[in-house]
């Protein structure tokens, strides 16, 4: 065990062998609970649209679902695999199960774990780090849930204001607002990747106006092109 890790442990209590055996058993327990609870959570989450549909006498349109999912899957399944491979070593076993079900992994859970690791002075791969990261992710998720619950309670009485006719342009333009802000952030991050897809997509939408309403299809060539340019730049060592 490292000097840093020793700082936060009481050395009288456990021998390294006992600790290793205990930790292996502890991790197996986390895997067992993690898998069971994740499966149950997935069932609950997927049931929600069906329950709401049943309450209103409608069901999800499977053709529309498959059409939407084909595009979404193409973009987000590779992202999910990359995130899984990159982030789980930082999050540890318990932290990974919790982070991937509670979300906001990159913008909240990873920084929170890094912060907790710095405070507790643990090193990745040690039992202490595993414990600290699980606690920090769990506490972070609970805190977020409570803050949002409080916000939602406050939001309910504001419903009539939020649904006022005058606010319609705001909510009808929530997607452009997102991609304007996000676009600037990502374009600044990788301007050499951004130029070609941005120019090509703009020219395409000006030349073929019918393409404008098919943004979900445009994402595929645009994303593919950006990936290709990124890969070529990476190979040349220019990223």
């Amino acid at each position: 065990m490292s000097k840093a890790t020793n700082n936060m442990t009481n050395q009288k209590a456990v021998s390294p062998q006992e600790k290793a055996a205990f930790f292996a058993e502890f991790n197996n327990g986390l895997h067992r609970i993690g898998r069971i609870t994740l499966v149950l959570a997935v069932i609950m989450l997927v049931s929600v649209p069906f329950i709401v549909g049943a309450m209103n006498g409608v069901m999800p349109d499977m053709k529309g679902f498959l059409k939407g999912f084909a595009t979404v899957g193409l973009i987000y399944i590779p992202v999910a695999i990359v995130e899984f491979l990159v982030y789980t070593p930082m999050l540890g076993v318990g932290g990974s199960y919790l982070s991937f079900i509670t979300g906001n992994v990159t913008n909240m859970k990873i920084p929170c774990v890094m912060n907790a690791k710095d405070i507790a002075k643990t090193e990745a791969g040690t039992p202490e780090h595993e414990i600290v990261s699980t606690i920090s992710v769990a506490v972070s998720a609970i805190t977020t849930t409570l803050v949002i619950v409080a916000g939602v309670i406050l939001l309910v009485p504001l419903q009539p204001i939020l649904q006022a006719e005058a606010l319609l342009p705001a909510f009808n333009n929530v997607v452009p607002a997102l991609f304007g802000a996000l676009g600037l952030k990502y374009f600044l991050k990788s301007p050499q990747i951004a130029v070609v897809p941005l120019v090509l997509m703009s020219v395409l939408c000006i030349a073929v106006p019918a393409a404008i309403s098919q943004t979900s299809l445009l994402l595929i060539p645009s994303g593919g092109l950006a990936l290709l340019i990124g890969y070529l730049l990476f190979k040349k060592g220019k990223l």
């Binding site: 050395q11 009288k12 205990f22 502890f26 327990g29 609970i33 993690g34 959570a41 649209p49 709401v52 309450m55 209103n56 069901m59 999800p60 679902f65 939407g68 973009i75 992202v79 990359v82 789980t88 070593p89 318990g94 079900i101 509670t102 913008n107 414990i131 920090s136 769990a138 506490v139 972070s140 805190t143 977020t144 419903q159 939020l162 649904q163 342009p169 909510f171 333009n173 929530v174 997607v175 452009p176 607002a177 304007g180 802000a181 676009g183 600037l184 990788s190 897809p197 941005l198 703009s202 939408c205 000006i206 106006p209 994402l219 994303g223 950006a226 990936l227 990124g230 990476f234 990223l239």
Partner: protein
């Protein structure tokens, strides 16, 4: 209130969401308690563990408020309960909105437009949003144990070798950035196309995107150059809300 908004903000829907979130919060509590006890059992100081808890609460408070702003942004079109659920579990604002837009087009709408949305389209959109984000969860269910065992085994066997071996940089992190650059390029390109007479001469989406980008540029300047790092958590949601407010003001003015 129109019938669509009444349906997506129904009381029972809040109850369902509360139930799902209670389950996931319970899961977090179990992991937290188990880990805390394990920490004590292997000799970690309780004082240090409590410090981790306090610092994690403090660290999360501000970003959580920014997620709440995201709930407000989403709630106008998808209602409060679904926005609450989607931003409390798995997703993040940028994912949810993008997927909702793609799913809306999948069911034949022009996009997330209140005038076109109906409860049938809503449940399909909600299903695409839910299933589309499950990739990471399925990876955890099926591969986490094997992957972590491999990593931990590898760490033990190759510890000395790894210390001497230089890490090869991978394209993985760049791939995600490139993918998002392509995604943003497609949307911004479509807003530029909309301004043209052939695209309907609708300049509002490009205007809103421009205001959001300008606002984000200010945030980026303050974060990168002036080191106001706390703003990072708010930059996206705040830029969006400013741009959305600008849309309302411009619409009132013209």
């Amino acid at each position: 209130m129109n019938s669509y908004l009444a349906s997506v903000n129904a009381g029972y829907f809040y109850g369902i969401v509360a139930l799902v979130l209670a389950f996931i919060t319970g899961m977090c509590l179990i992991f937290c308690v188990k880990s805390y006890r394990a920490g004590v059992a292997i000799g970690m100081e309780e004082k240090a563990l409590r410090k981790v808890i306090t610092s994690s609460v403090m660290f999360t408070l501000l970003p959580s408020i920014s997620i709440l702003l995201g709930v407000i942004a989403l709630s106008g079109t998808l209602g409060v309960p679904l926005s609450w659920l989607r931003l409390s579990v798995i997703g993040a604002l940028q994912y949810e909105l993008n997927v909702a837009e793609i799913a809306a087009q999948g069911v034949g709408l022009s996009g997330l437009n209140l005038a076109e949305l109906n409860i049938g389209a809503f449940v399909t959109i909600a299903l695409v949003m839910t299933v589309g984000i499950l990739g990471g969860v399925f990876c955890c269910i099926f591969f986490l144990k094997k992957y972590m065992n491999k990593l931990q085994g590898g760490n033990n066997q190759d510890a000395t070798q790894d210390e001497n071996k230089e890490k090869k940089p991978s394209f993985g992190a760049h791939a995600t950035t490139a993918m998002f650059v392509g995604l943003c390029a497609a949307y911004i390109g479509s807003y530029i196309g909309k301004v043209m007479p052939g695209g309907g001469s609708d300049w509002m989406p490009l205007f809103v995107a421009g205001v959001a980008a300008a606002c984000m540029a200010v945030f980026e300047y303050l974060i990168q150059k002036k080191q106001y790092l706390a703003l990072e958590n708010f930059s996206l949601a705040a830029s969006m809300l400013v741009a959305m407010a600008a849309a309302v003001l411009v619409n009132l003015a013209i």
